[in-house]
């Protein structure tokens, strides 16, 4: 008889949900620290943040016209690349919103006992999450190609300190967020496995519910990151 045996029948859906919420608080505070740093530096370097954010501007067409007036020597190729990755930012926002919907739907489906639909919706969520990461990969890749990455000589010689800070935070925050996407995906896959082997079902849905909660958190953080880096000037 193993030491852990007497815990196995202890199931407290309410308790595990409280636990998950508490953990989400800590995650929010983790990013909270970064948001704090972001706002301090934004306050200290309003112009540089303004400028750097322009480079992540959403509406490429408007941006081109706007920037012709704004900058003396706009490098067309450079701008085109920037335009592309900011469009990716918008697409990614939509992707995450849809994935939040599908994971919420999968929880409902599980409660109704529709196992196949649950699994299908979970797979959809995972695929959307992966698409998000692929997009992110290309977005970062373009930045790297243009010599914009932490510690690059290009940044130190051509960008102001405020812009370096902006991009430093951009990489840290979107990178940490991407890491959370990965963790969220792993959680959903674990839940998927537990549903297929029958240990998570309509009467014990906690694991899927908590994975869903976590996924919503990841989504929510992106909802804050997106305007901070792409929309606010």
């Amino acid at each position: 008889m193993s030491q852990v045996i007497h815990h196995e029948d202890h199931y407290d859906a309410e308790g595990s949900k409280i636990g998950m919420w508490l953990f989400i608080f800590t995650e929010l505070l983790l990013f909270g620290g970064l948001f704090l740093i972001y706002s301090v530096y934004r306050y200290k370097n309003p112009d540089a943040f303004h400028l750097a954010a322009q480079e992540l501007e959403l509406f490429g067409g408007l941006f081109l016209i706007y920037s012709v007036y704004r900058y003396k020597n706009p490098d067309a190729f450079h701008l085109a690349a920037q335009e592309l990755d900011t469009t990716i930012g918008a697409i990614n926002t939509v992707i995450l919103l849809i994935s939040s919907m599908t994971i919420a739907m999968s929880t409902t489906a599980l409660q109704k006992g529709q196992k196949k639909i649950t699994l299908l919706l979970m797979v959809t969520t995972v695929v959307l999450g992966i698409v998000f990461l692929v997009n992110k990969y290309f977005e970062w890749g373009l930045k790297f190609e243009h010599g914009i990455f932490p510690g690059s000589e290009h940044m130190k010689t051509t960008l102001s300190q405020g812009e370096i800070l902006f991009f430093g935070l951009y990489f840290v925050m979107t990178g940490l967020h991407a890491l959370h996407i990965l963790i969220g995906l792993v959680l959903i896959l674990v839940a998927y496995y537990r549903i297929t082997n029958g240990t998570v079902h309509a009467n014990r849905p906690s694991l899927l519910e908590n994975a869903g909660l976590y996924w919503h958190l990841v989504d929510l953080i992106w909802i804050f990151l997106f305007p901070l880096f792409y929309l606010i000037h």
Partner: protein, 537 residues
């Protein structure tokens, strides 16, 4: 609620034979009592390392100039001493050891809410400890920044900082998981009839601590990650050369690390609040005041971090605000002292080793607390900042507070944990030696700081010599006291007389179960009726 094997009710958690034998049976066990002992023994090993480092520093300071080590070695000593003592001993100390062991029993539960997570927390703790230790053993030089990892030095120095920084981050993660576990446990697993107003005070303080762990630790987590990224990639966030602000690092660090002081002291106060009523055989005075002041400390403690940075560069307005808040946070601590003293008043006091530790706790805690007010006053702070006075202050609070409470708790609950009584004569001898050594070690530092001796220097002026000799002698007496205490407890755990169920006539529920407790704690989940409570003598 739980299905149990019939045997486990008779077998104590120490003897219980699970799936695995020996050590493996311990490190795979999700039993909260075994996890508590895992923490206790790993902490003891680390504590010995930390104490030896402290002893080495005091030896260096026995005479001016170089005595036994170079300046750089001394820097490494105080850094590793600080990291070990703060992150691995005093922050997790009481919650991880006594909280784990006693929280479920005191609230009438069979285990914590998430037993597996509890075991994972211990593994995370060990991983963090290994990371920190590896920074000493490998790489180009031991970390030399002090335990605060101040930017920009922490990413400019050539020493092996990364493992130490990640180690501190990982240890914080372990602390978050423990806090989360305790909060859910207290919300969900209290026995029938145990309302919030009948919750014993040790669990109450663990509850307050849990919230601080949860809401403060992530900030230092992200800050440490940023320092690490700064070191690896040069993101610029704290690097003035790239536009970053090192003062911002200090803010973020202390936003966590000041509340962390309350993570250390709240459970200590909780343990004292259990011990004093038991040895006074009297209802705790002002139960509600203690609960409210616990929560008030947890809350106000968030808003005083700036008092670590009065001289680092901040506006006058912020200085005033932080200074006033610092004075405010002293009030709930003082309320507790009044409660403890009033509990003893007209009680029938039973003077035993835990009681000695508890009253000496009050004594040193008051010295530590009042010297904290000296430092919280703006003018005095400018003069005393970064002197030995600060070192004396926080050792009186952290070691004098948490350390004394830890030993009080250890002598109080030892019979319950190991099922054996210890020799009270040796235990008292150990306490006397420790107490005298402690005062001789840290007392002179108040004087030295007032006279202007800076902290963290391996050298000093000739005029500080005599007080430093006293301090070093004190360190020897204190460590000798520690040896007496540990040897006595180790011998007693093996050969002591069997402990009765309730050796001190305590009223909380851990004194209703056998010593040592059976695997599942209770045959039947206990229950409080209308007029019953944890302190009804």
């Amino acid at each position: 609620m739980q299905v149990s094997s019939p045997i486990s009710q008779q077998v104590s958690y120490l003897e219980y034979q699970g799936k695995y034998k020996g050590l493996l049976g311990w490190i795979t066990s999700t039993d909260h009592k075994r996890i508590a002992l895992l923490y206790m023994f790993s902490m003891m090993v680390l504590f010995i390392v930390g104490a030896l480092l402290g002893l080495g520093m005091k030896l260096e300071l026995i005479a001016p100039g170089k005595t036994v080590m170079e300046a750089q070695t001394y820097n490494a000593f105080f850094t590793v001493h600080g990291v070990i003592m703060i992150f691995m001993i005093v922050i997790p100390g009481l919650p991880a050891v006594f909280g784990n062991f006693l929280l479920p029993i005191m609230i009438g539960a069979k285990d914590v809410a998430f037993p597996k997570l509890n075991l994972i927390s211990w593994y995370v703790y060990i991983l963090g400890a290994i990371l920190v230790i590896s920074s000493v053993l490998f790489g180009d030089g031991t970390p030399d920044t002090g335990w605060t990892f101040y930017a920009p030095y922490s990413f400019k120095t050539g020493t092996n900082m990364l493992p130490a920084i990640f180690g501190a981050f990982v240890l914080g993660f372990s602390s978050v998981l423990t806090g989360l576990n305790f909060i859910v446990t207290i919300h969900r697993l209290r026995a029938p009839g145990m309302t919030w107003s009948k919750l014993p005070l040790f669990p109450w303080t663990l509850y307050g601590t849990g919230w601080i762990q949860l809401l403060a630790t992530p900030i230092v987590g992200i800050t440490l990650i940023l320092v690490a990224l700064e070191r690896i990639f040069g993101i610029g966030v704290f690097d003035p050369a790239l536009g970053g602000d090192p003062i911002l690092y200090q803010h973020l660090f202390w936003i966590y690390s000041h509340p962390a002081v309350y993570i250390m002291i709240l459970p200590a106060m909780g343990a004292i609040s259990e011990i004093i009523p038991t040895f006074s055989q009297k209802h705790i005075f002002g139960y509600k005041a203690i609960v409210v002041s616990t929560l008030a400390i947890a809350f106000v403690g968030y808003f005083v971090w700036g008092h670590h940075m009065f001289t680092a560069g901040m506006s006058n307005t912020s200085q005033y605000a932080f200074s006033i808040l610092t004075f405010l946070v002293a009030i709930p601590s003082a309320i507790k002292v009044f409660n403890w003293v009033s509990t003893m008043y007209k009680g029938s006091i039973n003077v035993q080793t835990p009681f000695y530790w508890a009253v000496s706790f009050i004594f040193v805690f008051m010295i530590g607390g009042l010297s904290g007010l000296v430092l919280g006053a703006l003018t005095a702070n400018v003069y005393l900042h970064d002197t030995a006075f600060v070192v004396a202050h926080f050792h009186f609070i952290v070691f004098g507070g948490t350390g004394y409470a830890f030993f009080a708790a250890l002598h109080y609950w030892f019979p319950k944990m190991f099922g054996r009584m210890y020799d009270p004569k040796w235990a008292n001898t150990g306490w006397v030696l420790f107490f005298i050594g402690f005062l001789a070690l840290y007392g002179p530092m108040f004087y030295l700081g007032m006279m202007g001796m800076p902290r963290r220097y391996y050298d000093y002026l000739e005029q500080f010599h005599s007080a430093n000799i006293l301090s070093t002698l004190g360190s020897w007496v204190m460590v000798f006291g520690l040896v007496v205490i540990f040897v006595n407890l180790f011998r007693s755990a093996r050969n002591g007389a069997p402990a009765p169920v309730n050796p001190w006539n305590g009223k909380t529920w851990e004194w209703t179960v056998p010593s040592p407790p059976p695997v599942e704690n209770f045959d039947r989940i206990p229950e409080y009726k209308e007029k019953e409570g944890p302190y009804e003598y």
